[in-house]
Symmetry: C2
Subunit: 296 residues, 2 copies
DNA sequence: AGCGATCATAAATCCTCTTTATGACCTAGA
DNA sequence: TCTAGGTCATAAAGAGGATTTATGATCGCT
């Protein structure tokens, strides 16, 4: 499968006719016919129904075309980033975080670093579950607040923040008004989890195994905070979260109750080992100052 | 630029040596040498410094490789979605929304529809600014709560929700404790905005032009709620938002004050015209019931 | 100085993609 | 019912791109 084929596919979908798509792509109509046939062979799914009036997408074709479109957009970013390097754009520090990050520390550090470095653009970059680690490794951010545990191979990491954990419940839940809950008190509740993060991260958040040796009762999965909170609010499952999430995402249809017997969340500031980026070093210094409560 | 070249690029980056990368890719070493040279020509950026010990990434190369890696991941999703269709996975309704969506209606509708259709998996899909419209069009969701205004060409849309708007301020702001603010009272404040949404959407949210004919004072841009709120919290700019965002993202370092003289937000339930999906029709019926306050 | 490792280039070969030519099928209009 | 036009599929030929084999240049280490 190549980008050329995906371009053909998307254009055929847009135009609905092989002949006119061929014109738009500056190839002959049989070229598209062969390309489409080859791709359908390769992927095993027929993408278009053909008829005398042109082609129409199959249901499978619709989804494949959607993903093909995204692939072409992403491929354009390869060229775009090359172009930016050609133009010599520098002076940006991209700071990654997920959900509520390291709470106020996240916000204060970026603000303070920006104040001290007026020529530098400090961009907050929010990622979904645990993705900030991947983003560090593949260069989408320069530095990130990482929720531990995480695979820190090849990264430099310093713990900069710790906070207790809470359980998220629908506001009508029987336990919603408690001052504290132990994890075994919600042992039978389905628990929100995600497939997007490493298993170790998921298990840590789920407190798996539980103190009595049992496994959590797994509820539905989700890809981000809002999807998780939507399903907690509607009563489908509960979730475990850092205390800062309770404060940053304080929906009226949710209740947040402290978990009294679980390990608190540790947040590290991390960057790629050997990155030798003065902006990253400066930012880390600011975070250290703020985390230790030094006078500013 | 083709996926084959990106695969070569990423493998060379991983291995650090053309010879061993060639082995891994089942091609000869000169094939990689030529491919790399061609791609560097095409993109105009040198990706690797070559030397007797192998190759090392340039700074530009690092960013290009990161984007190339993402492109290959996304391309794999084309094959994955084709595979899912081959396996016949059906019975999923993907409900898109951004930020706080249509408030409680979003949550209640999905919960009620799931209750009535036990065999159907109703997935909440959160998107960033205005992206739910694009997601409808390219098939990533089946139905979505769309914040208007939006380009609804090719979509069926029904207004299902209306809510007032508020201004987001850092909690120490002079206007933070007001019961209401008119838009001209914050005319001089930098305003958060986004490049990810259509201009009409951005202008509507920014109340551009202002009642006195002036233009907003544009602040920094952002790509999602958290990035926006981080920058408001740190005092960089203010933001305009729907009232549900004040309730769902009630951070302690933010204040939300009603805007007294702006048009409220209207939210439409939308789907692709002619989609003829019984799940979508059923979901729309449930939303209509809930929106009109009918007895369940 | 010599050897081994690594990348670059030339020329030949292979193979893929595309073209030209044409057929099959369908639909609309006369 | 027949014909013409539009659309997609296929065959065969040709063009060109990608890769191979062969080999050279360079560098680092002994």
């Amino acid at each position: 499968m190549e980008l050329r084929q995906l371009r053909y596919l998307v254009t055929i979908a847009d135009v609905g006719n092989l002949g006119r798509a061929a014109e738009r792509l500056y190839v002959s109509q049989p070229a598209l016919s062969y390309a489409l046939k080859n791709l359908e062979s390769e992927l095993g799914v027929r993408r278009f129904d053909r008829h005398a009036g042109g082609v129409t997408e199959t249901v499978a074709g619709r989804d494949v075309v959607a993903e093909a479109r995204r692939t072409l957009l992403q491929a354009a970013r390869v060229a775009a980033v090359a172009e930016r390097h050609l133009r010599g754009e520098t002076g940006v520090l991209r700071v990654g975080f997920e959900a509520s990050g390291a709470g106020e520390l996240t916000t204060r550090a970026r603000a303070e670093f920006a104040r001290r470095n007026p020529g530098v653009r400090v961009e907050p970059k929010r990622f979904d579950w645990s993705e900030e680690v991947t983003a560090l490794r593949d260069g989408r951010v320069d530095v990130a607040f990482v929720w531990l545990p995480a695979d820190l191979a090849g990264l430099h990491a310093e713990i900069v923040h710790t906070e207790p954990r809470v359980v998220g419940l629908p506001s009508g839940h029987a336990l919603a008004r408690r001052d504290g809950i132990s994890v075994l008190e919600v042992n039978d509740e389905p628990l929100m989890w995600t497939e997007r993060a490493p298993r170790a991260w998921v298990d840590w958040w789920a407190v798996n195994p539980r103190p009595d040796g049992s496994a959590p009762r797994w509820g539905p999965t989700n890809d981000n905070v809002e999807e998780m909170l939507e399903q907690v609010a509607e009563g489908t499952a509960i979730c475990f979260a850092p205390h800062s999430m309770a404060r940053y995402y304080a929906r009226p249809d949710l209740a947040w109750v402290p978990l009294t017997d679980v390990e608190p969340l540790k947040v590290a500031l991390a960057w790629v080992d050997g990155a030798d980026n003065p902006l990253v070093r400066g930012f880390a210094a600011v975070v250290s100052e703020l985390a230790s409560g030094e006078a500013l």
